[in-house]
């Protein structure tokens, strides 16, 4: 049996995790379903019709971000308690198996369960909302009008107006990156990991903004990025008449274009889109390896 990863041992870990947490997980899913149902009932009662597709999609992502990050911040909470950490670290499984077991529940199982429950409730609410709206329409309708049913939204197509731009893909990628940051936070911070991770993310955001605004922007010539980040269009700078400073304007004839090879741009974009979450998982793995109690 390998000391790094063994599928049988990993599966033992998965079943052990389930046997110890099934009560907690079942109750959490039940509570979440109840809250979501209450929210839908409120929306339907208020509007007297089923929620529109955009509302369904917005609700899906807002709740996904909040719940996903909250759950992620509890994923390694056991390591904040000495007794639970000892129990966790001394289980005869490799660090990789332990990380993959937690990611299996925190990333995959959570996402699948959340989406399934959302769709089940959404389906029921849209059907009920349509029935309610139809009855109302029968009583109050203008004979010339046509009853328009709401449909169950495809949350992965993105809200109307942004569907062609792969908006939902970017939202999902952002979600997984953010969730990975909270997973890392749950192992990095022993206590109050959710709040501390939020603060850390805000600080990182402020730092990046300051670096961009105060360090990068001043050294760049006047201009703008084109085609993502692979090209930079340098605007034309012209001396204005005496004593009136310089004029900056865009003129395709005199503007200059600075480009890096397109494959570098593509690799950078790929890394920005897909590498952050796995890198944060890797950081979590190393953090677990160096964990002492």
């Amino acid at each position: 049996m390998t000391q790094t990863f063994d599928a049988r041992r990993w599966w033992l870990l998965v079943t052990k995790h389930w046997s110890e947490n099934k009560k907690k997980y079942s109750l959490s899913l039940l509570a979440f379903s109840g809250l979501l149902l209450l929210w839908w009932i409120f929306i339907v009662m208020d509007n007297h019709r089923a929620p529109a597709e955009d509302i369904q999609i917005n609700a899906y992502y807002v709740v996904l971000f909040i719940l996903g990050c909250l759950y992620a911040s509890t994923l390694f909470a056991d390591l904040g308690s000495k007794t639970k950490a000892l129990n966790y670290l001394t289980v005869p499984a490799s660090q990789a198996e332990k990380i993959l077991c937690n990611l299996f529940y925190g990333v995959l199982v959570f996402f699948v369960c959340y989406t399934a429950i959302f769709y089940i409730l959404d389906f029921v609410v849209v059907k009920a909302g349509n029935a309610m709206a139809y009855n109302r329409w029968l009583q109050q309708h203008d004979p010339r009008s046509v009853f328009k049913k709401e449909t169950v939204a495809n949350v992965f197509s993105g809200p109307s107006g942004l569907r062609d731009k792969g908006f939902s893909l970017y939202l999902l990628l952002l979600y997984f990156v953010l969730q990975s940051a909270f997973i890392y936070g749950s192992i990095y911070f022993s206590k109050f990991s959710f709040i501390k991770t939020v603060i850390a993310l805000v600080l990182v955001g402020v730092f990046v903004s300051v670096v961009l605004a105060k360090l990068i922007s001043p050294i760049l010539p006047p201009g703008n990025f084109r085609d993502g980040i692979s090209s930079f269009q340098v605007y034309t700078v012209k001396q204005a008449s005496a004593g009136q400073g310089t004029m900056i304007y865009s003129d395709p004839a005199t503007d200059k274009m600075m480009s890096i090879p397109s494959w570098i741009g593509q690799v950078l974009i790929f890394l920005l889109k897909y590498a952050f979450a796995p890198l944060l998982w890797l950081a979590t793995f190393y953090r677990l390896k160096e964990k002492e109690i």
């Binding site: 033992l12 079943t15 110890e20 000892l86 001394t90 289980v91 005869p92 499984a93 390896k289 002492e292």
Partner: protein, 281 residues
């Protein structure tokens, strides 16, 4: 089995070990004694791979504990002073936790559980701290791990359970196993420990087998003023003075761990000197 060389360890700036070296062999029950804060629990955690040495090497069964490899963790079981067990029925513990230990014996677990008088169908959620501890000790023994580390195992056990513990432990030792028990409750472990190791200020103050101690030292009550004065250690009691003195006879005396510990701490050099004297032919 355990080879610790020049171990240095500190909690931030507070040094705990500054060059500790120690070897432990299979087939013994080691009693790890020492004052509060001398590093007994830290040593056990270092052996279990839960703390990493700042300097020096720790080898356990040929493994470096800090790597926490599954093959190492399968052979080392730690019963900490404060512990966590999930709120599951005992059967779940056997079904889902035991498969990680290849040498785990369900029959032994049942046997130990019944010796500790724990109802086999019960759930951990409804158990007292002492009962949970007995379950953990039973599981640790049934895992048949080669290395068993116990930190204050009798804390939280009632009087009857302490007797049960001694009985169970005495039957659990084998040639391949090494059991290390760190404790302050020395009375609970008398007649159980084979070798006594005392840690003080991050170093080994004393390390000797119980058999040799019993042969060389005598623990008795005395009313003889001269004998009391010449003893290695004495303390007055209602029935005379309890003393630690040289065993001049041929037979092994009864070991009093509490008196021995006090004698080592207060008059360690003299005690060690007596133990080093070779028998005359």
């Amino acid at each position: 089995m355990i080879d610790i060389q020049n171990l240095h360890f500190a909690y931030r700036k507070k040094p705990v070990f500054t060059g500790l070296s120690l070897q432990l062999q299979p087939g013994f029950i080691y009693g790890l004694l020492g004052k509060n804060g001398t590093g007994k629990s830290t040593l056990l955690r270092t052996i279990a791979g839960l703390l990493f040495p700042d300097k020096g090497t720790v080898q356990v069964l040929g493994f470096t504990p800090g790597k926490r490899q599954p093959a190492f963790l399968q052979q080392v079981f730690m019963v900490p002073e404060e512990f966590y067990l999930p709120d599951v029925p005992l059967s779940h513990l056997v079904d889902h936790h035991a498969p990680f230990y290849p040498k785990f014996s369900a029959a032994q677990f049942e046997k130990y559980i019944s010796e500790f008088e724990i109802p086999s169908g019960s759930t951990l959620q409804n158990m007292s701290y002492g009962q949970k501890k007995k379950v953990l000790i039973s599981f640790a023994l049934a895992s048949n791990a080669a290395m068993l580390l116990m930190d204050e195992p009798t804390n939280g056990l009632d009087i009857m359970s302490k007797s049960q513990f001694r009985k169970v432990m005495a039957g659990a030792l084998s040639e391949e196993k090494c059991i290390v028990i760190s404790t302050h409750q020395v009375k609970d472990l008398e007649n159980l420990i084979d070798r006594i190791t005392v840690i003080d200020e991050g170093r080994i103050l004393f390390d000797e087998t119980a058999e040799r101690i019993s042969r060389k030292l005598s623990f008795e009550l005395s009313f003889d003023g001269e004998e009391i004065q010449q003893s290695l250690y004495n303390e007055s009691s209602l029935r005379g003075a309890a003393i630690v003195t040289r065993n001049t006879g041929d037979e092994e005396g009864k070991l009093d761990l509490e008196l021995l510990y006090k004698a080592i701490v207060l008059n360690g050099d003299a005690v060690t000197a007596v133990l080093k004297i070779k028998p005359t032919l």
